[in-house]
Amino acid sequence: MILTKAQYDEIAQCLVSVPPTRQSLRKLKQRFPSQSQATLLSIFSQEYQKHIKRTHAKHHTSEAIESYYQRYLNGVGRNGAAPVLLELANEVDYAPSLMARIILERFLQEHEETPPSKSVINSMLRDPSQIPDGVLANQVYQCIVNDCCYGPLVDCIKHAIGHEHEVLLRDMLLEKNLSFLDEDQLRAKGYDKTPDFILQVPVAVEGHIIHWIESKASFGDECSHHAYLHDQFWSYWNRRDFQEKINTNAGNGTLEHKLSTWLVEVRRNVVTVFFQDNLSSEMSCR
């Protein structure tokens, strides 16, 4: 399914300062019944991440951390069973999982002599049972399961989606009898940054020559697209000349966006193609 830019904008518009909770997602689904949950969640997640990137710093000043911690302490002092931390996060417009991390870090600082290491904190967030304080453990757990944009569970889901799409893509390539080198093989050959697949014999798709395929398995909005171009694409570009990529998305890509991307990148003999679920129908072999 390809979204138009207008549709995309409409969805993004609804996501301005909405907490990343189950309830928000449910409302979104009601509002856009024609879109799949995966699409909506992907857009939601990306929009929310952009929002967090913008506001991240203000939640990490020592004053902010201190005030959050005091509010948390007061809250659980009144009622340990109430969703204190989650409400605090929603109130200050910050991701619950990230708020949980702030409070946990602060808590550990207070209760242990040495400042907690990152790995300790990560491990406690993955398994809140390890948190020495029972009330805090519950609060943290609540934040994590209620956050649909951040947290270890969400990370795992994203990772799983990426993996699944790579498998899907590999199957399609095998089915089409396209000879390719996958990431592991490329790494073994000494490439440091690799796309998911390099086609050993290029193919033509919609009149453009495809040399390699990178599956991002997420919604290809302008921002993430740009970031991927910057982080990954140009490093491939520097390593192999005249390369093109197919961006296989979780099912989305805007048509207009696709055209504009072409305009930008055909100049450098690069094409980015957004693919629908049905990759095979659009891929032709020459």
Partner: protein, 1231 residues
């Protein structure tokens, strides 16, 4: 100028601001207003600061550096006289270093006051031939002698003090052959240009290549046989007072003051020696006591001042404000290796007490100061140093002074040395042989008549005869080119009547030139040069030593200091002399045409652009080829351009610039009419635009280096110089960003440009031009993204080949180690190459060398396509061979490494010890097998090459030719492959084994068990199971609902729960999309779900409202989960979490509390073997440590007792319920 330095020292102005001020004319907004004000008053002097600084440093160091060749610098004017200080610092007696641009006129007043001045410099040898040898001891002798001389203020007179001073000539028996004292006519142009000081570039030593030919008066600043003229210098009679306020003096003023000072010194210097006695060879006893003083960081005086000046100096170097980077490095290394201070009699070494941090006191008061300063500068130039050749790095890293003053720098240098692969041989490449007969061009059809063709053939024969004779005899003493060959050459040229014969001959001449002189590119040279490398790496250590020895013997003693004037070394001498002897206008014209054409052709040659940042070892092999091709093209271009410059400027060449301004103007007017032989300006602009400066600029520099004195003044060439200056300034080495030029490319350009700016014919003020004139020719360099500039085409070998003078740094350091500098009067290696002539001409003919020559001879007689084919095959097979070895031998070794590692891990337990140690053990076991690579590589090339050659050559090729071609291809391919393999195989094996080790160790890690025995999905599976990501997301939703907060109407349907668990089963059975992290999260979520079921926390939708599950339903769901845990999960399920305080604590919130489900679950876990009884008991035990409400802990204790008391029963469910029921009763009663 001194004022600027002073204000820096007083910290009124920061170094950064000062450097900004020097580099740019406009004030930067970053500048502090105070600083800006301090500097703006000095604005007119801005462009003179750098020359001042350079001269100042050399002046200051003059007492320390009496040995070795001088460090010239072409910084005009701006002498180091300090304003307002009549009694100034002691200055060295040797002008050569201390004063690069000594004032050329002596004020008449001063001259009159100094009727019998004796100057130390007078003791120097008579001519340039003695320049190098005599300099060191001479300097020393002066220093030693100086102690007994009654000077005032410890001042020494300067050697190059006042050339042409009438009073001097009168007062002493003149040493007419001393160039410094009696410079040639015109080297001191009077008039407005007369304020230009004469250049202090060393006269070129009479080297072997040059001694036999005609005097090359044009290539040295003062010609050898120049007779001093009686032409009067321009006398500046204006009396300058001392004590003018600092900061307001112009360069001219300062110079005048210096002049005054000098005249005073002259007066004070006693006459000691008769110059005629100095004509003899230097006495060995002169150098007797020149032992090096040890330097001690603790004894450095005025650290802060030295640091500051070092910082300014380094910043100037870094910003390319100095004309020649390597010259400055050379100077700094001279300071580093300064042997001892020239002692002075009186105590003026003590800093003047009043102004410790000003310029009043000498900068370098001891060797310690010098070394400290040098190390300070070197620290900031580390990046450049790290790109020098391995030999230089070794010498630097081993320098004990450096270690003592900056262990950190020494450590970095050592690391750089260890990481360096830039072995550079200073040996001259051997010469190749004659150009073959070229059937395409040299056939009858290309000549107008039989006669012309015949003549051409005869000329060919004469030419080669002449060449052979030159080769055999040019090193014999007393042989003269002109006498021996001149008439024969002219006779031959006389026969070339028709224009086309000229062009044929010129083609031959040019081909021969390229073949003989193009240093490392020729195959002959490569074979000779590289074969011993291979052998030495194979362990033939003696051969390597032999080669180094040979290199020492054959390498020229010195390339003429860090800034030698252009010369024609080796075979180039023949071609130059040929052109001179032929003195044929037609020949020269044809030659220029032909050279221009070839230059254009090579300059625009599309050089292949391989992937620059591919770390893959395989492409190393190919990349080397590309690099070699670039080097070949570059060296050819340089050679051609040099000869083009030589021929083009030949008619205008004269020993010195025109004597008067009027004459110069008229020459300029005339010359500006003449179109350039080749439009080098356009080519330069093209090169810059296409980002190919690294190719264009080096040859352009060669071309310009042979220009005459007028050329830089012509508008056309002036604009070229402007562009080059602009380029030079822009090549800031520390700038490294995307699209910037590669470091070594920059270094090459800086080296050649720096060298050009020091050429005698280039006006010295050119470099310090105002920027206003610089942007006369703006070049747009953004056009192309990927030019040659951005590619690492230059390696150290090419750098040193193009700029042999960089090797002087190494020689200087080596002479410090050997301690020989004093004895041999300069820095000369210990082995004095007295017998090199015989050896050098005929490099030892090893069988390999002979073989290579045979191969050359073979190709000589075959069509060029045969050679191309053979070389192509060799190149490809060699490259394939390396890939093959990687895929077979290395891969096998990696497998061995893996199995060895497994054994190791089994015997040593899981952790297996330190990975680095493991790697070492493995490598020491496996790397010796790398030697097989060479055998296998040889076999591979042997097997593959002949077939490829046969397939590519015409069917009709004669059998003998074919087999020779095959053999050569095999040989070349083997050589290529083995060279690479022997150099890299160990590193390659190491790299691969390292990767394998880390892979294996990672596999041993905590996730290993998870990955242990993974079952795939069944054959019949069609992979239609729900995706893991979807499931995690669904379960997460249920968890969040259960944990809350939730709306009153929210809940899950029982069907949904059941469906979810069903899907989980499917996904776990179809493993197509499941990755271990996802499975781990699914396991954990399922445990969380079970806990919520046990605690009855899951809100179930249904009439009438969300409520808890019925116990039966919950038990059913738990059963499903239990069987999933038992049968379907392949990762460990964190079941102990069921008894974590947090999950058990969920029960505390529920009223009434339901214990039976928990007890049920625990029993089932034991039943199914998912958890052991003891494990559960341990968990329950630790639960008691947590803090609970009193009633809850009592119930927990009861549960614990019940579980313990429970005998192992086949039907536990029923009894458990009953027990818990009763228990609940008590709880209820209590509450």
């Amino acid at each position: 100028m001194a004022a600027v330095l002073e204000s820096l020292l007083r910290e009124e102005v920061s170094v950064a601001a000062a450097v900004r001020w020097i580099a740019r004319s406009a004030q930067s907004s970053e500048d502090d207003p105070g600083e800006a004000a301090a500097l703006s008053s000095l604005r007119p002097l801005r462009k003179e600061f750098v020359p001042f600084l350079l001269n100042f440093l050399r002046e200051q160091s003059s007492r320390v550096l009496p040995q070795g060749p001088p460090t010239p610098a072409k910084a005009p004017g701006s002498s180091a006289a300090l304003p307002g200080r009549p009694g100034g610092p002691p200055r060295g007696g040797r002008g050569a270093r201390s004063q690069l641009f000594p004032p050329t006129e002596l004020s008449s007043a001063a001259a009159a006051e100094a009727p019998s001045a004796r100057r130390g410099g007078r003791r120097r040898g008579p001519g340039p031939g003695r320049e190098r040898g005599g300099r060191g001891p001479g300097g020393l002798e002066e220093g030693v002698g100086g102690e007994s001389q009654p000077w005032t203020g410890g001042r020494r007179s300067r050697g190059a003090g006042s050339p042409g001073s009438p009073s001097l000539v009168r007062s002493d028996p003149p040493n007419l052959s001393n160039l410094e004292e009696f410079p040639p006519v015109g080297s001191v142009p009077p008039g407005p240009a007369g304020t230009k000081p004469s250049r202090r570039i060393n006269p070129t030593p009479v080297s072997e290549e040059r001694s036999l030919s005609k005097p090359k008066t044009c290539f040295t600043s003062p010609p050898i046989n120049c007779v001093p003229s009686s032409q009067p210098s321009v006398l500046d009679t204006s009396p300058w007072g001392h004590g003018l306020p600092p900061g307001c003096r112009s360069l001219q003023e300062e110079r005048e003051m210096l002049r005054k000072e000098r005249s005073k010194q002259l007066q004070q210097s006693p006459s000691t020696t008769c110059p005629t006695s100095e004509l003899g060879p230097p006495l060995p006893s002169w150098s007797g006591n020149l032992t090096a003083e040890s330097a001690d960081p603790a004894r450095v005086s005025s650290r802060q001042r030295l640091e500051l000046i070092a910082l300014v100096y380094s910043s100037c170097i870094a910003e390319n404000l100095v004309p020649n980077l390597f010259l400055e490095l050379f100077f700094v290394l001279q300071l580093l290796t300064a042997r001892r201070m020239v002692a002075t009699k009186d105590g003026d070494l003590e800093p003047s007490p009043g102004a410790p941090d000003s310029l009043e006191s000498p900068l370098f008061q001891s060797v310690h100061d010098c070394v400290f300063f040098a190390v300070q500068v070197l620290e900031r130039q580390f990046q450049v140093l790290s790109y020098l050749d391995k030999g230089t790095l070794k010498l630097l890293a081993e320098n004990e002074r450096l270690l003592c003053f900056s262990p950190a720098l020494q450590g970095r240098l050592r690391a750089a040395y260890e990481g360096s692969v830039a072995k550079v041989s200073l040996a001259m490449p051997p010469s190749a042989q004659a150009v073959s007969f070229q059937p395409e061009t040299d056939n009858r059809a290309n000549f107008s008549s039989d006669r012309a063709f015949h003549t051409f053939k005869k000329q060919r024969d004469v030419f080669f005869e002449v060449l052979r004779e030159w080769e055999d005899r040019h090193e014999e003493p007393g042989w003269d080119f002109e006498k021996g060959l001149g008439s024969r050459i002219r006779a031959m040229m006389g026969q070339l009547s028709a224009a086309c014969s000229h062009s044929h001959f010129v083609r031959l001449f040019q081909k021969q030139l390229l073949q003989m002189c193009q240093s490392p590119g020729g195959t002959g040279g490569t074979v000779l040069g590289e074969a011993p490398d291979v052998l030495s790496m194979l362990g033939a250590d003696k051969l390597g030593r032999l080669r180094r020895l040979q290199e020492r013997l054959v390498a020229p003693q010195s390339s003429g200091g860090p800034c030698p004037p252009p010369t024609f070394p080796g075979c180039q001498g023949f071609f130059r002399d040929f052109i001179l002897s032929a003195s044929s206008f037609q020949f020269n014209q044809h030659l220029m045409d032909s050279l221009s054409l070839k230059i254009r052709e090579l300059n625009s040659l599309a050089l292949p652009q391989p992937e620059p940042s591919d770390e893959d070892g395989e492409s190393d092999v190919d990349w080397q080829g590309e690099r070699r091709q670039f080097a070949m093209v570059l060296l050819s271009l340089r050679l051609l351009a040099k000869f083009l410059g030589f021929v083009a400027f030949l008619p205008y060449r004269g020993p010195e610039p025109p004597p008067t301004r009027e004459l110069q103007d008229s020459i300029l007017a005339l010359r500006s009419q003449v179109p350039p032989a080749l439009d080098v300006r356009a080519l330069l602009q093209q090169g810059l635009r296409a980002r190919r400066a690294v190719l264009t600029v080096p040859w352009l520099v060669e071309f310009l280096s042979l220009a005459d004195h007028i050329v830089p003044l012509l508008d056309y060439y002036r604009s070229i110089f402007s562009v080059l200056l602009h380029l030079h300034r822009s090549l800031v080495l520390s700038k490294e960003s995307e699209g910037e030029m590669c470091f070594l490319n920059k270094l090459l350009l800086l080296a050649v440009l720096g060298w050009l700016f020091q050429i005698p014919t280039v006006p010295e003020d050119l470099f310090f031009l105002e920027e206003g004139q610089l942007d006369a020719l703006e070049v747009d360099t953004v056009a192309s993204e990927l030019g040659l500039d951005g590619m690492p085409v230059v390696d150290q070998h090419l750098l040193y080949t193009c700029c042999p003078y960089i090797g002087e740094l190494r020689k200087l350091l080596a002479s410090w180690v050997s301690g020989s500098s004093a004895r041999s009067g300069g820095f000369v290696r210990k082995i004095t190459p007295t017998t090199t002539t015989g050896l050098g001409a005929q490099p030892p003919r090893t069988s390999q060398g002979l073989q290579a020559q045979l191969a050359q001879a073979f190709f000589h007689n075959q069509p060029p396509s045969l050679r191309r084919t053979v070389e192509f095959v060799a190149e490809r097979i060699g490259s394939n061979c390396v890939k093959h070895i990687k895929a077979t031998l290395v891969a096998d070794l990696v497998r061995q490494a893996e199995s060895l590692l497994q054994e190791q891990l089994v015997t040593q337990g899981q952790d297996g010890g330190d990975p680095a140690q493991l790697l070492e053990i493995l490598c020491s076991q496996l790397c010796p097998h790398g030697a097989q690579a060479l055998t296998q590589g040889r076999e591979f090339c042997q097997k593959k090459s002949p077939g490829a050659v046969r397939a590519l050559l015409p069917e009709e090729t004669p059998a003998a030719v074919l087999s020779s071609a095959e053999n050569i291809a095999v040989g070349l391919a083997t050589e290529k492959a083995c060279t690479w393999l022997s150099a890299n195989i160990t590193a390659l094996i190491r790299r691969e084994v390292k990767a394998a080790v880390s892979r294996t160790l990672r596999a041993q890690g905590p996730e290993a068990a998870a990955r242990g025995e993974r079952r795939g999905c069944s054959r019949a599976c069609e992979h239609h199971a729900p995706l893991p990501s979807h499931l995690i997301s669904e379960i997460k939703d249920v968890l969040s609902l259960a944990v809350g907060p939730r709306d009153p109407e929210e809940g899950v349907s029982l069907d949904h729960l059941e469906q979810l668990l069903g899907q989980l089963g499917q996904t776990l059975q179809c493993r197509q999309f499941l990755c271990p992290p996802a499975e781990q999260h699914l396991a954990k979520c399922s445990v969380d779900l079970a806990s919520l079921l046990v605690a009855d926390h899951i809100p179930v939708l249904g009439p009438p409202s969300p409520r808890g599950l019925e116990r039966g339903q919950a038990r059913r769901l738990l059963h499903v989960l239990l069987s999933l845990w038992k049968d379907d999960f392949q990762v460990p399920v964190p079941l102990q979490l069921l008894l974590s305080p947090r999950n058990v604590g969920l029960l505390a919130d529920t009223r009434p509390r339901e214990w039976d489900l928990l007890l049920f679950l625990l029993r089932e876990l034991v039943e199914k073997g998912l958890m052991g009884r003891t494990e559960i008991e341990a968990c329950l035990g630790s639960l008691r440590d947590a803090q609970w409400p009193k009633d809850f802990s009592e119930e927990l204790a009861t549960l614990f007792r019940l579980f313990l008391a429970e005998p192992h029963m086949p039907e536990p469910q029923l009894r458990a319920c009953e027990l818990v029921q009763t228990n609940r009763g008590t709880v209820l009663a209590q509450s």
